[in-house]
Amino acid sequence: MNQTVRFCLISLLLMMPAHVFAQGPSIPKERIFQVGTLKALDSTLKVKVGDPAPDFSLPTVDGKHLSLSQFKGKKNVVLSFVPAAWTPVCSGQWPGYNIVQDMFEQAETQLIGVTVDNVPTLHAWIQEMGGVWFPVASDFYPHGKLAGALGILRSTGEAERSLFLIDKQGIIRYIDVHDINSRPDLGPLIKAMQALK
């Protein structure tokens, strides 16, 4: 065996375990756009708890369309809006939801992630994240139509970091429009979901 072949084979063997273990969610720091601290809230909410939620039909990263009406009478729905793909807090929020799928299922609730980014961007971002178990929908065009109807479209075109829990009758039962710079605590949302059962 000549030296080049030996070098390559040994290198491959040495590198293989690292390659195997490095599978899974990982967004290197340099691929995350640092936004700094933004104005906490930059919109005026147009809905309140007890209001019917506006229906929507949004494309998802898996090539389908999701509407609120398809869940009516079957499942509660949580809309988790994050402001933008490839930003720090957003890239941290949804991977956490990956370990609470059982809590959503027990509460008969469908989680839907939403941003105002387009589908290809969301696809790339979610892939880089390592995937999420819930559908991710794009409110890109007409730009922020759903976010605008809810009153969470910021003047810069992003959505507020927000959570809406909608019951099986299509009524909004919980709203958390959060400071864009920080992640909402999961506890109050899960408690509100469990209270619907």
């Binding site: 000549n2 080049t4 072949v5 070098f7 390559c8 290198s11 491959l12 590198m15 293989m16 690292a18 390659h19 273990f21 490095a22 599978q23 899974g24 969610p25 990982s26 290197p28 720091k29 640092q34 720090p88 941290g92 929020q93 991977p95 956490g96 990956n98 370990i99 609470v100 809590m103 994240m129 390592g130 920080s182 992640r183 605590d185 999961l186 506890g187 899960i190």
Partner: protein
């Protein structure tokens, strides 16, 4: 032929190399406390069972000062429920805790986790999901994280207690997942207070 094989191997190795990226959720403002420096006496918060508190020599209600932990050495793991690397590291951390006991080191070396930016609820989700065997504290307002240098997660501090001088010294640090549980514990033992 040799050249062709070399380029083929290089092509295979290039993507493999990129997979070697650090397995941590990095923090852009991180400024970890260096080895040899003094760790502030953190005021640990969280809802911990009395049994687990007792393993640390603690009792009563939060906050629990770090300096009250009865140990020669503390392994403090900064984690987050939201950090995928921490999720994947959770079983290894349970193994580390078990190995400390198996080796009879659990009297001197104690292990704690702090959920950076995590509420009690979120810490509990992590605790239950991964059947975590060692005490986990919460840090919903990033108070502890500011004190420990706004580190990424997971981040490991090995801390040596110096009760005489009422100091806690940083003995070892690690950002990202352990390469191996046994190897990491060997490193901890090497730097731990004797």
């Amino acid at each position: 032929m040799r050249t062709a094989i070399f380029w083929l191997c290089l092509l295979i190795l290039l993507p493999t190399g990129t997979a070697l990226a650090l397995e941590a959720s990095e923090s852009p403002n991180a400024h970890p406390l260096p080895v040899g420096s003094t760790m502030p006496d953190l005021q640990l918060m969280g809802k911990i069972s009395p049994e687990l508190l007792a393993t640390l020599g603690l009792q009563g209600n939060e906050p629990y000062p770090l300096s009250n932990i009865k140990a020669k050495t503390i392994i403090l793991v900064a984690f987050s429920m939201y950090c995928p690397h921490c999720q994947r590291e959770a079983p290894a951390l349970n193994e580390l805790s078990a190995l400390i006991k198996t080796k009879g080191l659990d009297k001197d070396i104690k292990m704690i986790g702090v959920g950076i930016g995590n509420s009690d609820f979120e810490v509990n989700v992590f605790r239950e999901k991964y059947a975590v065997t060692y005490p986990l504290f919460s840090d919903p307002d990033f108070v502890t994280n500011k004190a420990i240098g706004e580190v990424g997660t997971p981040y490991f501090y090995v801390l040596n207690m110096d009760p005489k001088n009422k100091e806690i010294k940083v003995a070892h640090t690690l950002l990202g997942r352990m390469e191996s549980v046994e190897g990491y514990l060997d490193q901890v033992v090497k730097v731990s207070a004797k």
